[in-house]
């Protein structure tokens, strides 16, 4: 009993004591969830297969994947082109993508949104508050 209530403490292993406990709890909870899932299925009979689809019906492919790709391009662009240029480009394209149609008005809105936000952020945070921008 005493062994159970005592943790072996070694300086060089301080860092793995707690993660071990957490991983154990995670595995137990995970196992319980899986068990409950199959238990329910067996109880309900396997005839009723639960339908699960990751994406919702009729989802907007171009907007979802477009914005995801743009999001991941953005940091690369910042490292290459600096904050100002990449943010203007990013804002312009993503606003246009979200509006979803290329019209004169949409172009104008995107451009305004891109330029205004970028300059305000750059000026207020980069210049006035002296925050280190990307």
């Amino acid at each position: 009993m005493e062994d159970l209530l005592t943790v072996e403490l070694t300086f060089s292993e301080y860092h793995i004591i707690f993660p071990r406990i957490i991983i154990t709890i995670l595995l137990i909870l995970g196992a319980m969830i899986v068990f409950r899932y199959f238990y329910k299925r067996v109880k309900q009979g396997s005839s009723k297969k639960r339908e699960f689809s990751f994406f919702m019906a009729n989802y907007d492919k171009s907007k979802l994947f477009g914005s995801a790709i743009l999001l991941f391009l953005y940091p690369f662009m910042m490292e290459l082109l600096g904050f100002l240029i990449s943010t203007i480009l990013f804002m312009f394209v993503i606003t246009l993508l979200f509006i979803g149609k290329v019209q004169k008005k949409a172009l104008f809105t995107s451009l305004t949104n891109a330029l205004a936000t970028t300059f305000v952020v750059w000026y207020v945070f980069g210049q006035v508050f002296d925050i280190t921008l990307p």
Binding site: T6, Y14, H15, P19, I22, Y59, K63, S67, V121, P134
Partner: protein
Amino acid sequence: MELIGILSPMSIMLCFLGVLIGIIFGSIPGMTATMAIAIFLPITYALDMIDSIGLLIGLYVGGISGGLVPAILLNIPGTPSSLCTTFDGYPMTQNGQGEKALKVGITASVIGGLLSLTILYFFAPLLASVAIDFSSVEKFLIIIFALTIIASISKGSLLVGMFSGILGVFISLIGTFADNNEMRLIPPGLEDQLVYGFSLLPVLIGLFAIGQMLIEAEEGMKPATHQNIELNKGEKSKFKFRVFKNQIVNLCRSSVLGTFIGILPGVGGSAASITAYSQAKSFSKKPGNFGKGEPEGLIASESANNGLTGGALIPLLSLGIPGDSTTAILIGAFLLQGIEVGPLFIPTNPDLWSGIIFALILANIVMFALMFFSIRYFAKIVYIPKYIIFPIIIVMCAVGSYAINNGVMFDVWTLLLFGLAGYIFMKIGIQIPPFLIGFILGAQCEKYFIDSLKGSGGDLTIFFTNGPVAIGLWVLIIAALAYAIFDNLRSKKNETREAA
């Protein structure tokens, strides 16, 4: 009259300015009160001590309060401590009560702030002395107590909610353990980036803002239902101070709880609103409404996180120990001026001490005035088309993430990574609020666990034998868990009854 004597017109103006800038920082997802103070820290060198106190206190109060705006209107916590504000604030917006929610939140904030500064003024040295008696054992138990909220906010399956919370704890452990500088749990190849683990802010706003944006993009960025409805739908949605009539107990309890958690050095600010929310739910007559737009929950969260401001200043001013990360930066302002903050600070600097109190009173009042009367315009944010507001939010989040650790590109990657994770979580049923609470509290939980064991030589019974406070905390923890399980079963029963 005395106010004018101690605070110069200059410091009053700076306090005003501080509150305004603080509110802006707090309300931008990705910028926090801590950051605002860090930015202005070098500037304070050029000011008199009393003037810089006015400015910094203003920033502190404004920054903590501003977080409620995006939390209520956009479901994005502006600062970590306004996480619980989203639980009921955003549903209120969806029900067409956005403006009311904001006003309730602001009023709760100012009352929390004023109550806590009263406590600060009258009981600072006494409470600080109590705080020192809280050893790592009690702090560990308080964190565990805060973690029990995971059980009570789990929607649907309790098991999945707990899994989400523990997963959050697990993710928070990635990085280096400070005591022995050893890295653990880091995926191979990312040692350089993850040496300090994931930063809280990018994780928080990634999961909320970016995750939500991806969901919206999937839906095609259609205007949300609440964008077409009015902010003040009908008589029921008007804000009246009467809302608070039955909330006095809740208000006081949450403010005091927030203040007390603020006092404990090393127990982070987010724990304040988390515990207060969970207590409000446990004591409420209608716990079933929590999470669906119940002002009671909003009041608890907001009064607690402003209660924190006075609380965190208690150990700072009466012991020289910062109560949270923001006050840790505040201490830098004193040091730049060559003023030592320690146990003798209050008796040796009476002018500065009353200056701080007056600055706090002023900042709270200014905050209330600025926000309460301008909120009608703030609230209009929800009418801005999503295709305009989301790109702006992303850029703000990216700038904030980059700046939070003073310029680290990996934090921007963290933001995106957790944005994607948030999207996937929502799809596969992992619950984001429990996950985040686990993530926020995980590292502290480990620290105090190991610290307790270092003190006891590895003996686990220390958690039960460390005196009456520890026993009392255990009683609270068990009661909270039992209540959560009971509540979960009851609501499940109700659901099946309704379905039948």
